[in-house]
């Protein structure tokens, strides 16, 4: 019999029961909650007169609605405030651990899980948020769920699921200088497409993946959902264990030793069989920029905006034309000629310390260009913010003309006050460039943190490898 993939192992370890119809009941180890997708679930629970089944499996934080400017006056927008207050009240009522808005540990749910050691190797992790795939970097089976399922997990600590197929993406070689994990995942999505991972759990492997820091691995796993995959996972190695060690929620003493011994087995067996495998050469990956309204509409920064007339498939052609019209771009324009209005550095994709360091290294001693109306850095969490300040990173940004904000989702989706005006163009380190994502008629270009920083200084897209 063939060996097991990492995904198979995680699945088998959590399968409570397999049903006749092919679905399984899966046990959930960690449930993360935020304010946007949980209120109705708590309400449903109450209507049914139930309580959360395992309180200590839950960890909650408000991130989408929180202001990123001065918080001392609370949240001004009454509806945002209501959502945050509702989560506070629900957590207080059920004694769920929550980091409130002014807690130093508050931040984007996918940043704080790993940061606090609440995300541990081998866990099943769910959250009413699609970028839960981020946690797969720790060899977790992690994916987003809807509000009905949030209620289901609260009530039963289980989820009804159908097993995905196994895909492995192998990235051989080494990423070039100035090429970030974001460029790698954008390059992967550009090639396999936003439906390339549909029906699969993707395991990332190969030298280039092993060489990534845990932060970089999180960036890659984060955007697996943009490739259509249910989950992205990476095997445990020394880096995983070193990262987790000593974090507040991580085990200690004898439990730690036992945990590490178990975690070491969280790798695919050498003879495991994958349903699909794609191989990449890391050296071929360049800094990427999206030009359209889907993450797969992506090109190298040194390329020209593609021409729909060269696309043979009529549906794709129409999609490209629609995207170009929405983005206000013309086919054939060199990407580096495209000017931007705003810069956003942050999000659960690129709001961690390593990302901020990479961006700060570019802006240090420079100024943002005159045509940039706003350049903002939003750390992924209060802890990230504090670490960055201890390193003096914030000064590099502030001196260059950036705004240095409080942690949250911010302009990744514009639920708080941080959003683009209609028609504004943004170089953003977030993960979605959909129509209207950063505000009504907003135009988003996804890039890595160093690219966003260089873009701020130049006022247009530039190849950061030349800096």
């Amino acid at each position: 019999m063939a060996g097991k993939t990492l995904y198979d192992k995680l699945w088998d370890a959590h399968e409570v029961r397999r049903n006749d119809d092919g679905t399984s009941i899966l046990y959930i180890d960690r449930h993360l909650l935020h304010e946007v997708t949980s209120a109705q679930a708590f309400e449903g629970l109450e209507l049914a007169e139930r309580k959360p089944w395992r309180i200590d499996a839950n960890l909650a934080v408000s991130d989408h609605n929180v202001p990123t400017t001065d918080r001392r006056g609370g949240i001004r927008d009454p509806i945002s405030r209501l959502q945050v207050d509702t989560l506070d009240a629900n957590c207080d009522k059920h004694h769920i651990v929550q980091f409130k808005m002014n807690d130093r540990r508050q931040g984007i749910v996918h940043v704080i899980g790993p940061e606090q050691g609440a995300t541990l190797p081998g866990m099943t992790v769910v959250c009413g948020d699609s970028h839960t795939s981020t946690h797969g970097a720790f060899a977790c089976l992690a994916h987003g769920i809807g509000t009905s399922e949030v209620e289901h997990v609260l009530a039963t600590q289980c989820l009804l699921q159908k097993k995905s197929k196994n895909m492995r993406i192998v990235v051989n070689g080494r990423l070039g200088k100035g090429v970030s994990p974001k460029d790698l995942i954008l390059g992967i999505i550009g090639r396999i497409g936003t439906a390339g991972g549909t029906g699969y759990a993707i395991e990332y492997a190969g030298d280039a993946i092993t060489a990534l820091s845990m932060e970089g691995r999180m960036t890659v796993c984060n955007m697996s959902v943009e490739a259509g995959a249910r989950a992205g996972i990476i095997a445990v190695d020394d880096k995983t264990i070193d990262y987790v060690k000593g974090r507040p929620f991580a085990p200690t003493g004898e439990m730690w030793d036992r945990a590490v011994a178990a975690w070491r087995g969280l790798v695919s067996d050498a003879d495991a069989v994958f349903d699909h495998e794609v191989v990449f050469d890391a050296e071929s990956i360049v800094p990427h920029v999206t030009w359209g309204t889907s993450p797969e509409m992506v090109i190298g920064v040194d390329a020209r905006i593609p021409d729909p007339r060269e696309e043979e498939d009529p549906f794709r052609r129409e999609g490209m034309e629609r995207a170009l019209a929405y983005m206000g771009l013309e086919a054939g324009t060199p990407m580096s000629d495209v000017k931007v209005d705003k810069i956003f550095i942050g999000s659960c994709t690129n709001g961690r310390l390593e990302d901020l360091r990479a961006a700060a290294d570019i802006v240090r001693g420079r100024r943002i260009a005159d045509n940039i109306k706003l350049a903002m850095v939003v750390p992924g969490s209060g802890v990230v913010k504090q670490q960055a300040e201890e390193e003096g990173i914030h000064e590099a940004f502030i001196e260059a003309g950036f705004e240095w904000r409080e942690p949250g989702c911010s302009m990744c989706l514009g639920m708080n006050d941080d959003r683009l005006e209609p028609g504004e163009r943004c170089a953003s380190t977030s993960n979605r460039n959909f129509e209207g994502r950063q505000g009504h008629l907003s135009r988003t270009h996804l890039v890595g943190p160093a690219m966003a920083a260089a873009c701020a200084v130049a006022g247009h897209f530039v190849d950061v490898r030349e800096w």
Binding site: G44, A195, T198, G199, G414, G436
Partner: protein, 164 residues
């Protein structure tokens, strides 16, 4: 499911930010629904009627896990969604809300405004306007049952009440 509804046909990659724009996620479901698809077709939310059918190409509902995306469609009166393929969480969310989401390879053959009659159990879409019958993947029995019960939570309640 024997009533017919008007088809609203869109292309590939209709994502959750289009269906449920984040700026309105905070307000009431009514307000959010009123802005459903505003950046693609401002007419949609105004004109869609009870019982209509939402038809799309590949990757319908890709993006966020927000259950409000299928909920907005449901609130506007959409009773069935058809697409060549779906974003996984959207697909699950739609069914969890009791709204059939059906994979149909031939959605290209449907025009906006066509009258459709959809039988989710049999996996058949009748186009009353063109006279064509299109096949779609039928829902497995356990999902038919869940949809008929009104979604995941009502379904589980019924099961629990039934002593299972």
């Amino acid at each position: 499911m024997s009533e017919s509804g008007r088809a609203w046909v869109y292309g590939d990659g209709i994502n959750t930010d289009l269906l449920a724009p984040a700026a309105y996620l905070k307000g009431s479901m009514e307000e959010l629904a009123a802005h459903c698809l505003q950046d693609l077709d401002p007419d949609f939310a105004r004109s869609v009627k009870e019982g209509d059918v939402f038809v799309a190409g590949d990757n319908l509902g890709i993006g966020s896990s927000r259950e409000q995306a299928p909920q907005a469609l449901q609130m506007l009166g959409i009773r069935t969604v058809l697409a060549k393929s779906f974003g996984r969480i959207f697909y699950r969310n739609a069914l969890n809300l009791g709204m059939p989401a059906l994979v149909c390879a031939d959605t290209d053959r449907i025009r906006s405004g066509d009258r459709l009659r959809v039988d989710a159990t049999a996996g058949v879409v009748e186009n009353l306007t063109s006279g064509e019958t299109l096949a779609c993947e039928s829902l497995p029995p356990h999902l038919v049952e869940m949809v008929a019960d009104g979604g995941l939570i009502p379904h589980l309640k019924k099961k629990l009440a039934g002593g299972r």
